[in-house]
Symmetry: C2
Subunit: 420 residues, 2 copies
């Protein structure tokens, strides 16, 4: 068991529990808690059923810090505050000052949406109710974030479910005295990251065993996804020697495949390398439909390198906008190495960029043939020093194939740029 | 408490618990379980710490069906099977047939990656070990999916963590006799969906109360995100009357804003409407960098409507590839209604499409000014019947602003197409 303060994350909402929408708060909170030196030991996600939420709250409240997201709204199925009061054995009361604040926000909302205020009034009193001892950390819309110190200095925090609101209020949680007190008990650990390209997980596990495995102040995790294998070493004070032995073993065994020592996504690695070399970048995408561009522009500051791209979903667009020869399309087909290479060249020419990245493939579920099955993807990259291309046959569904195709197109550019 | 069989989802992995990567299995499993008529009552996510995983397993095993993802790999930190054996009080044994199957796969993997087989052999015996009474449902790579009937006909299933592998093996779970037996006990519920655009949640909640609220065989959830408000009615046999009353009240109050009665994403609504009208579609994106195209091409079969687009991140690309006038850019700036309109027109012209969708904005965190702050976004759509544009000032971080900008660009096109 970790000697760091234990944190529990509790996510609520029927639409989350049914899988109708995807939670974004868990990953954010987990990273933040890890950054504070706490151990995000468990996450629980439950719907609106009060008995499930109450059970999950009672489990979560056993942690040093329990962070709850969602269930703070004005509607009947928002029960987080009421059940927090019950689980901690505290009465609910309406906070007059909070009620005034929420009322002001509700009036502005009604006006902006051109709806009668009466529609919103009913929720104000509900949202201004809090358990004895709880304090408001601020509002997001009409929903207050609450902090409650309960038994033995343990802390519960409730935050609104919409991710933007939760993130906006999170700094208030971090700055609060009870959370600062918990964080001060955490011994910071150094995280060392090694990311390898196309190496089997079991081989890395064996190398780890050879070097003595974890222990002596080092915790190690291995995570494989989309042909990337990430090894994380969490090093407590005193664990430096073991960590160095593990790193040496891994670099000795797989150094050629080591492509990063930090968690920058491959899009950021590509952008940073272009910046270093003073090169601009353009994309040409077929089956990914804009995903590669979206990944690149996810990275803040992409605009000094990335000029833009062409989404050439139809063959006519590949020909007219990227200059892919009609003969290339006719002879080799839209999903071919030749077309991928021509698209990369076309992206450079059409956008006046130094480096072009291209991807074309069969994402499915329809459109596959015996010769060109669903999952067949060609990626290419072209730069001032030459060009490179690669073929993949990905398993998986449409979403996975597109995701992998986008990542591999970026890796192809990374490989090309590494040689310059 | 629901009268349907209760299901628990247990997700494992330190990299998930720390928030380093985002889980995709929970949403998939939740939707599948809901589809089978089971209630996905709780999800739990834990890291590799054995005591956390064992506690979560014991909680999960109380459900009629407990589905575990992850922790089946060959490495030391994959402990799901061992702890499942402990939590159900069963011994582990090596299954000889399974061992032969896994060995065959491991040899093929070693060959493909050009690594010595010895690196993989160590994991084979571990992965062929299962609790007494468990059966293998098939392999994904070297990892077997297992099914174990334990006390009182309750069922536990372990599946590999990589999403593609989990999805590939999931049909074997559904087809298994114990899971079929559970599903046959579920009374199917009808789901009715009403989706409104730009209506406040509290107003809808009030209308629901006016119509008598939930109960009498109707469960209702309200979920707001990105200016969409979704109302789900889960109707048990006998609940039809109450459901109709609720629907009538909502349609009477907010009918103008009702835009869908199913869960198709807005991209699918736009594509379907274009298909209905025989129109083709193109995109022009600045701040979203390809997200709108990616959303459209997420939808299988998009290619008969969507031709492609231009990601015009740099101003030179807006001018050269989309024909946005230098004077428009100089006078109004890249983030303006005029530029958005010119981009939509340019997308139509450049790609020979009937309908153009455009978006330009300041996604931040840098690049904002007093006049054009971070979060300012202009969307536009142009079709055979005319054009439309809209300005937004979104709160949130770069990711949220881009996400909202992409959704709103699609809604702008939806609105335009609704008039045709």
């Amino acid at each position: 068991m970790s000697d760091r303060p234990r944190a529990a994350i509790l996510l609520t909402g029927s639409e989350l529990a049914r899988g109708a929408i995807r939670d974004a708060n868990g990953p954010f909170l987990a990273r933040e808690l890890t950054g504070l030196g706490l151990e995000p030991a468990r996450w629980t996600l439950v719907g609106d059923a009060p008995e499930e939420l109450e059970a999950a709250l009672r489990e979560g409240l056993a942690a040093h810090l329990c962070v709850v997201s969602g269930g703070l709204g004005p509607t009947h199925d928002d029960r987080t505050v009421e059940l927090l009061a019950r689980a901690t054995g505290r009465a609910l009361h309406v906070d007059a000052e909070l009620e005034r604040d929420i009322d002001g926000v509700a009036r502005a909302v009604a006006e902006r949406l051109g709806r009668p205020y009466a529609e919103l009034a009913v929720g104000v009193r509900k949202q201004a109710s809090l358990p004895e001892g709880a304090v408001s950390l601020g509002l997001a819309g009409t929903a207050p974030a609450l902090l409650l110190e309960h038994e033995d200095g343990r802390v519960a925090v409730t935050l609104p479910g919409p991710p933007g609101e939760l993130r906006r209020l999170w700094p208030r949680v971090v700055e609060s005295a009870p959370v600062q007190a918990l964080a001060s008990r955490a011994r910071p650990r150094e995280q060392r990251v090694l990311r390898f390209f196309a190496v089997p997980e079991a081989a890395v596990a064996l190398a780890v065993e050879h070097a003595g495995g974890e222990g002596d102040g080092v915790e190690l995790t291995i995570c494989a996804r989309n042909f990337e294998l990430e090894v994380d070493l969490l090093v407590s004070p005193g664990g430096e020697e073991r960590a160095a032995a593990l790193e040496d073993e891994l670099v000795a065994g797989f150094g050629d495949a080591l492509f990063a020592r930090d968690e920058r996504p491959v899009a950021a690695l590509v952008l940073d390398r272009c910046r270093e070399l003073g090169l601009t970048l353009a994309t040409a995408e077929s089956c990914t439909g804009g995903l590669v561009g979206a990944r690149l522009t996810d990275v803040a500051g992409a605009s000094d390198v990335y000029l833009g791209g062409v989404v050439a979903y139809a063959n006519e667009v590949k020909a007219a906008r990227l200059g892919v020869g009609e003969d290339v399309l006719a002879r080799h087909g839209a999903v071919s190495e030749e077309t991928a290479r021509a698209m990369a060249a076309g992206a450079r020419a059409a956008l006046g960029a130094d480096v072009g990245i291209a991807v074309t493939g069969v994402a499915g579920p329809r459109g596959g043939t015996a010769e060109k099955p669903v999952g067949l993807v060609h990626v290419a990259a072209e730069g001032p020093g030459g060009a490179t291309a690669r073929e993949f046959r990905f398993p998986g569904d449409r979403e996975e194939i597109r995701e992998r195709a986008a990542v591999m197109a970026l890796h192809e550019a990374r490989t090309l740029l590494a040689r310059l």
